[in-house]
């Protein structure tokens, strides 16, 4: 199931979370919890977004107590623009019911 812009429902849910606080860096497990995606799906999406230049990644400067450094992610300016359009398109009434249902939870509270 893909949107008009070629994003799957899972990708849209990741974009929705990243759009929520676009200036803040997010880490993988937090994204997984918010989107309810498994690691195999989540990282495949993040890799694709980074390849397309929609997301950027960096390593945390210092490791936390008792854990290694985190790999952090956020949307680029281009990614934010594309994500806004894609999420807006997915939320419109003209989209299919199934797609709307799949991404509804993710886009709530995101301004198109």
């Amino acid at each position: 199931m893909t949107s008009a812009l070629g994003f799957s429902a899972q990708t849209l849910s990741v974009l929705a979370v990243l759009c929520d606080q676009p200036s803040q860096w997010q880490y993988g497990y937090a994204l997984a919890k918010q989107t309810a995606l498994k690691s195999g799906t989540l990282y495949a999406i993040l890799i694709r977004l980074a390849d397309r230049g929609m997301a950027e990644a960096c390593w945390q400067d210092e490791p936390g107590s008792g854990r290694p450094r985190r790999h952090l992610y956020r949307l680029t300016a281009a990614g934010l623009a594309s994500a806004s359009v894609a999420l807006g398109s997915a939320a419109r009434p003209t989209t299919t019911k199934a797609r709307t249902a799949a991404v509804r939870g993710a886009v709530v509270g995101v301004a198109p």
Binding site: K38, S39, T41, Y43, A44, A57, R67, H71
Partner: protein, 402 residues
């Protein structure tokens, strides 16, 4: 809990194995997925996270194109190993079997090591094509060498052939060699096979390095080296498709017909790498046409010369031993190379024995051609007038774009 720990260890091992399949730019992601597992509650949830991570990494690594290349290599390596696999009755069959397995494993693992230590292959088709060509040549050498070695050590079943066999074995008469008729008298020694494996590593290693980004060998250098090497290889093969020995090559190009080609082969052996070096030095340009410093341009010239003669040696050896092996298996080739003239059975056997004995020359070729290439290209590159360096030539070499 112990079981979970073991499963986590298995997942960690799978992650390390899967990470080898990844292109260099993806390693960060593999590390990231693993580091994130520390956030996940221990137990099944963490195991599931890691399993998902392994799956994501493996899927990334085994992209369709890569999968296609792996399948193609597996098919070619399987075919070469099948053709080269010696029968148990062959002398020192275990040594030959070890050689086949070790060569295939080397060809499978060296590109992975090269990617880790030398970086990705250089951009453009020249580098990748050269890698494929050399891999194919090394695989083609496998059955050729094994079949030729097995024949060279096989005592003929017919007593009439024994004299020819003993002379080819280095004896002055038929009294010295006492192998049982139809039985193998020996085979490749371990030392020889290990030396051959080291040579394979050297060839594959040098070619993988020169076609990697770290070496900064330019596309034009690779193209010049490949063209020169293949031209020299074709001439060298045409001179002596059945081994370099005069007796073996006579049927193909007898008498004066061969002489101009032999002269051309000598010219190309010495002049080819020098000419390739001069051309490579003159044409060496950085990304965007930027001028390169003098030492980098000389380096390009030397790389071109070594590669040219190395490619020629590989090409000639693979085709040469392949032709000899084919002739040993099916005598129609020998009759065809004799322009349809009738050959008695003993004359055919003499040709086969001479050709299989002469095949050792290909190994010398594999050793010495690149050395000659190195010397001649160093001379050629050093003698190439570069003119006064422009100010921009003194600037550092720009990094090759990723």
């Amino acid at each position: 809990m112990n079981k979970l720990n073991k499963l986590n260890q298995v997942a960690a091992a799978a992650r390390r194995a899967a990470a080898w399949l990844l292109p260099a730019g993806r390693w960060d992601w593999a590390v990231a997925i693993w580091a994130e597992a520390h956030e996940v509650p221990p137990g099944l949830t963490r195991l599931a996270w890691r399993a998902g991570g392994v799956w994501a990494i493996a899927r990334e690594g085994l992209m369709p194109r890569r999968l296609g290349r792996v399948a193609l290599f597996a098919a070619a390596a399987g075919a070469a190993a099948w053709a080269a696999w010696p029968q148990p009755a062959v002398g020192h069959a275990g040594v030959s079997q070890f050689h086949v397995i070790a060569t295939v494993l080397l060809l499978a693992t060296l590109p992975l090591l090269a990617r880790r230590f030398f970086g990705a292959p250089s951009p453009g088709r020249a580098g990748r094509s050269l890698r494929v060509l050399c891999c194919a040549a090394i695989l083609a050498l496998l059955p050729g060498l094994t079949i030729v070695e097995a024949f060279a050590n096989l005592t003929p079943a017919q007593p009439a052939y024994k004299y020819t066999y003993c002379i080819a074995q280095g004896w002055s008469n038929a009294q010295g060699c006492n192998g049982a008729p139809g039985q193998s008298t020996g085979g490749p020694p371990w030392q020889g096979e290990i030396a051959l494996l080291l040579m394979t590593i050297a060839y594959a290693g040098v070619i993988l390095f020169l076609t990697s980004r770290r070496s900064q060998v330019t596309r034009s250098t690779l193209a010049i080296a490949t063209t020169t090497g293949l031209l020299f290889g074709v001439v060298m093969y045409a001179v002596a498709p059945l081994g370099i020995g005069r007796g073996a090559s006579d049927p193909w190009l007898p008498g004066s017909t061969a002489d101009p080609l032999v002269a051309l082969a000598w010219i190309l052996l010495v002049g080819g790498p020098a000419a390739a070096a001069v051309l490579a030095v003159r044409r060496a340009r950085g990304p965007g046409g930027a001028a390169l410093p003098r030492n980098v341009r000389i380096g390009q010239g030397i790389a071109a010369g070594v590669l040219a003669n190395g490619i020629a040696a590989l090409f000639t050896s693979a085709l040469g031993t392949g032709t000899v092996a084919l002739m040993l298996r099916s005598t129609w080739l020998l009759h065809w190379l004799n322009h349809g003239h009738y050959l008695t059975a003993i004359a055919a056997y003499r040709y086969q024995t001479n050709a299989s004995s002469d095949a050792v020359v290909y190994l010398f070729m594999l050793i010495w051609f690149p050395v000659i290439g190195l010397i001649m290209s160093a001379l050629g590159a050093a003698c190439t007038p570069l003119g006064r360096p422009a100010p921009e030539e003194l600037a550092p070499v720009p990094a090759t774009p990723g």
